[in-house]
Amino acid sequence: AQTVTQSQPEMSVQEAETVTLSCTYDTSENNYYLFWYKQPPSRQMILVIRQEAYKQQNATENRFSVNFQKAAKSFSLKISDSQLGDTAMYFCAFMRNRDDKIIFGKGTRLHILP
């Protein structure tokens, strides 16, 4: 069975700093999909970024980028120039294929301090 592990329950950084959230996963599949979701205090779940395992290039969305290390089964999220609005719970997620379920980690609560 696939598992997703986020080892940092909570983090705090100063505004404008760069922060990296860790995620590891376990699978025997070769092709799969990985995601980072953000949940601000409003409780709405928002997709931040996604990565397809067969693509070697790391995904980037504005200030958000990932470091995808397939051999190590690691999928970390880097937030550059952090802003107060980045304060949220962040979830790493895994999907084996397009017909499968999506499995989430337990989340990392990120606080951006003014």
Binding site: P9, F35, Q44, M45, R50, D99, K101, I102, F104, K106
Partner: protein, 112 residues
Amino acid sequence: DAGITQSPRHKVTETGTPVTLRCHQTENHRYMYWYRQDPGHGLRLIHYSYGVKDTDKGEVSDGYSVSRSKTEDFLLTLESATSSQTSVYFCAIRVTRRTEAFFGQGTRLTVV
């Protein structure tokens, strides 16, 4: 916005009563999911559906059942609510031919 509506948004119910939560989508996407969110546990999958009358269990399906008699509605039923089922419940859909999921706004259920 994938047109997802969860109802009710808040509910308080008594132990032992049945409860049904509804997830409605407006765009006829194939995949729908029910998750529960609890502190320290993240989002855990309860049940999911990959088409009308096609459903499967997730990791925390005990005490829950689902039905999907039409594409746009995915119902989650707590057959006999217990205090351990107090949680925030999220419905999600996955857009056909795409990989990302879109979530409803959640239902806060309290079992007293």
